[in-house]
Point group: C2
Chain length 555, copies 2
């Protein structure tokens, strides 16, 4: 009988923040039974992925081993952990397990994609477990910035793995279970092979702050504010949403929820029974009948997203509501790197309306959902693992986390996406490098990261585009002159002649002196026309555009 | 005789950070004699200005009044104050005045554009002044993050204006004159009509820190570092560059300058005689002969710019030099909003090389060059102006600064780009709104902000592009089928047929049923073909692409 091994393979989230997807396997090499932890997405931007709707992990490796997959486990309901379930379910074809709140969100995604709700199974918390092939997996409650976040205990004959998922150490998190030191310590008492652990905040040196510190500050703020107040936070941070709503209630303000995800999250949390003390909300239509100082709008769009409620309010109006001089907008959130410009844009729009803006620069109105460095130390000390594998972080986070573990006498392993680690022996080793990457959801189709589609878009955006059409007659002679159309290029060249005129003239001259065999040869002719076009544009406007050549030959 | 008025008109920098350009006028309304303060640029990004090389203020208003312009004054040598002199000189045709270091930089720009060095005139510091029509202008030394920064005293019969330029209050700035409280107080003793004042740091509540605090920290850092160290900062911060180089010298490290602007700034400062104590530098070729712990590379690229020395080192090699495990990279800088992703990318690349990265998150290795809120208060109290006009800031900065002035009993005026303020009376008033905006330098030509060129690029980047060509024969019938080419779109549609096949089929079917009069009408036919193409693409891939239609009619 072949020897079995215990294997770890990150496909997303290890070497980046977002798009979490981790694989564990147990069994004979290359024939392991597999489980998947999290199926997240990440978000496109204009710099690298213009026009793309959503970025998914490339799960080709898993798809080729579809019949080895026992189950998919989702640690919590953030998009970078659950966002891809609807998009990738068919390719993986395994049941999805999650706790009630997460399962509620996952089911909404599945039905949006036309799948049955039944493919998502609700699991109770540890010590309840799910049997998945050679694995037994339990959901251990852990504090984070969304309800019912869980770390996973993953047991097999290869030993115990503790996979934290995203977490912070908060003994007073509002909604959800407080962090339970004894419980987590108990998981490690019989030895843990590997602790696979969140790393996003490894560079934050202070101890993390509790969610419970935010509500009172917001209440103070709301009591002092004069006009209408709008506050934004991540809708999924239901505990924060509740804190803000309750603070408003106590400050004599009625709460109006704006934005689809804000309403959906409150709905989901209510459905699963973890949000029974949310103040009564009023509709946007009712806002007008109240004095402004008795209203709090709780809105989506903390990251400056263009279509969110916050951006539309900043732009002038949302659902008939407007903000004005004397009102205040509160960011109960931090800006994710890359979103600064969008957030600043909104702040300036509010400024133009005379609306005051408060953000978290004073450190009062937001706390992070992730464990800072001292909290990571606490977790490591509780679990006392044989090996520590940092996950969910950019390369610099993972590397720093490995250093910290090593310095504390625990062997750290730096494993980025695609590195398959054999955990069987006493010393983990890299046994294979898997090709991984990203897939782009673009409109209704999926596009590969390297198949040139997005590269072409970026090139058109940077260089502009020239289209050249040429008709060749039955005798093999050009019929009339070549015709140019330009997009995204200056209409006029440096000599104040229209750019297309100059291009067409240069192309005509080229055709006038071109040999018959060049004109007869599509490939060669196209290449030459492209070269002439690019040179001509470079001389005229100082740019080398993308060029499409269409040669039509009359039969 | 018509009454004269004193006028202020920002054309850039008021409502944004960067691209500073301010106009002052004195004389009869609409016939004022004008002076321009600063001619700066701002930088493009992929979000809003893909492919653009540089962004300049739209100076059409000034150009139409070219014969009213007496002079251009440049407060200091940062690109957002001097960067456009070469690009706009011809349009304005007035002499440029600056102090020696700034003039040195401005002259390099002028000669790059083929203008004479003589158009830039060097001015000594206050109390020396320049007569420019009805104005007398003096350069008052002020501390900032580049040598020889100056505020301007602008005297006319309309009263005294004090224009701070960018500044901080630093009595120990390293290179350059310490902030002189007595001098600045003396400017205000006979009354100041208006204080036009930097606002970028108005939200920073602590007193600003001195440049002199940075050097000792960097020296400590360099003494503790083991391998090779590379440090980056803004090259124009010559005082910082010198501090780092001297710290290296004292820590037993030879300094090698990498990057064109780093060498150019050191050269300019040496030429004008303000940098006589810079340690001897070594060439990149010499680095190899020294132990790694005896080298400091001082490199360009603190903002993650793709082609700068820092990015190339992170990418593996620059000028034959490589960094590796045990080396350290130091950011003696802060990241400007919008540049986070580029900087983080470099950090991760260094992490992959095993290079440790230090940045200013601990607050030790960088100080800002701008006045924080308490320092703005100091300046206002020294000058005691009748009116305070915040400049150089986004709308939110200007608005906050006006609030602060009002609270301190000084009337504040919120004037954004294009608002012409009449300062003649006791109460400044907005007398006109000028159309202002931006011009894009794109390759070798200038493109207007609103003429659609950049909008087309962004659309191609977001939506992809389809080209449709169709030939109509002598009888008015389609000759063969329409031909499609796609760029930046998925090759395959949802039914796994090639997208172009589906588009061509749908277009053919449309032509088959189209009426003769539609086919005979270019405008109508083009419109219909575009609609069919977009609908077909929407059905097939869920995107509506940009479409170019070329109809060729055989005569």
């Amino acid at each position: 009988m072949t020897k079995s091994r215990l294997m770890y393979l990150p496909l997303g989230g290890a070497g980046e923040i977002g798009m979490n997807c981790y694989v564990y396997g147990y069994g004979p090499a290359d024939a392991e039974r597999l489980i998947v932890v999290d199926l997240g997405v990440t978000f496109p931007d204009m710099d690298g992925t213009p026009g793309v709707d959503l970025i998914l992990p490339d799960v080709s490796w898993l798809e080729e081993r579809k019949n080895q997959i026992e189950a998919i486990f989702i640690t919590h309901g953030h998009e970078d952990h659950v966002g891809a379930v609807g998009h990738l379910y068919e390719r993986l074809g395994a049941p999805i397990y999650a706790r009630a709140f997460t399962a509620n969100l996952a089911r909404r995604k599945m039905t949006e994609h036309g799948y049955s709700e039944k493919s998502v199974k609700t699991v109770g918390k540890w010590p309840e477990t799910v049997k998945a092939g050679p694995f037994e997996v339990g959901f251990v409650p852990i504090s984070h910035s969304i309800p019912e976040s869980s770390g996973l205990v993953i047991d097999s004959k290869g030993g115990r793995i503790v996979h934290t998922g995203d977490f912070k150490i908060d003994v007073n998190p509002g909604i959800g279970e407080p962090f339970d030191h004894d419980l987590w310590e108990s998981l490690g008492k019989d030895g843990v092979k590997a602790l696979v652990i969140d790393s996003t905040n490894v560079f934050s040196r202070e101890e993390g702050r509790s969610e419970s510190t935010v509500g009172p500050e917001i209440e103070k703020f709301l009591k002092d504010a004069t006009g209408m107040v709008a506050a934004t936070t991540f809708a999924s941070n239901v505990s924060r949403v509740r804190s803000i709503a309750q603070a408003a209630d106590r400050a004599g303000r009625s709460v109006c929820l704006l934005g689809r995800s804000m309403r959906r999250m409150v709905e989901a949390a209510t459905e699963v029974g973890i949000l029974d003390d949310f103040p009564t909300v009023i509709s946007p239509e009712d806002v007008g009948s109240l004095p402004r100082e008795n209203v709090l709008l709780l809105v989506t769009g903390s990251q400056g997203e263009r279509r969110a409620a916050s951006a539309q309010l900043a732009n002038g109006k949302y659902m008939g509501l407007t903000m004005k001089e004397g009102d205040t907008f509160l960011f109960s959130s931090k800006t994710i790197p890359g979103n600064e410009k969008g957030v600043i844009h909104i702040m300036n729009q509010f400024s133009e309306l005379g609306v005051d803006v408060m953000d978290d620069s004073g450190g009062l109105y937001h706390v992070s959902g992730h464990a800072n460095r001292p909290d990571l130390d606490v977790m490591r000390d509780l679990i006392k693992p044989q090996t520590l594998i940092p996950m969910h972080g950019e390369h610099r986070h993972l590397r720093e986390h490995v250093k910290i573990a090593d310095a504390a006498g625990v062997q750290g392993v730096l494993a980025v996406n695609g590195m398959m680690i054999d955990l069987s022996g006493n010393k983990p080793k890299v046994v294979e490098h898997i090709e991984t990457g990203r897939m782009y959801l673009d409109g209704s189709v999926k596009v590969g990261q390297f198949d040139g589609v997005i590269r072409d878009r970026i090139r058109m955006a940077l260089n502009g585009h020239v289209l050249v059409t040429l008709i060749i007659d039955e005798n093999g002679d050009p019929l009339g002159d070549p015709w140019c159309e330009v997009s995204g290029l200056s209409e006029m060249g440096r000599n104040n002649a229209p750019l297309v005129d100059v291009l067409e003239e240069d192309l005509s001259q080229f055709l006038g002196r071109a040999e018959d065999k060049t004109i007869a040869d599509d490939v060669r002719l196209e290449k030459e026309l492209r070269t002439v076009t690019r040179k001509s544009a470079q001389a005229e406007i100082g740019k080398k555009p993308e060029v499409t050549i269409v040669i039509s030959r009359l039969a």
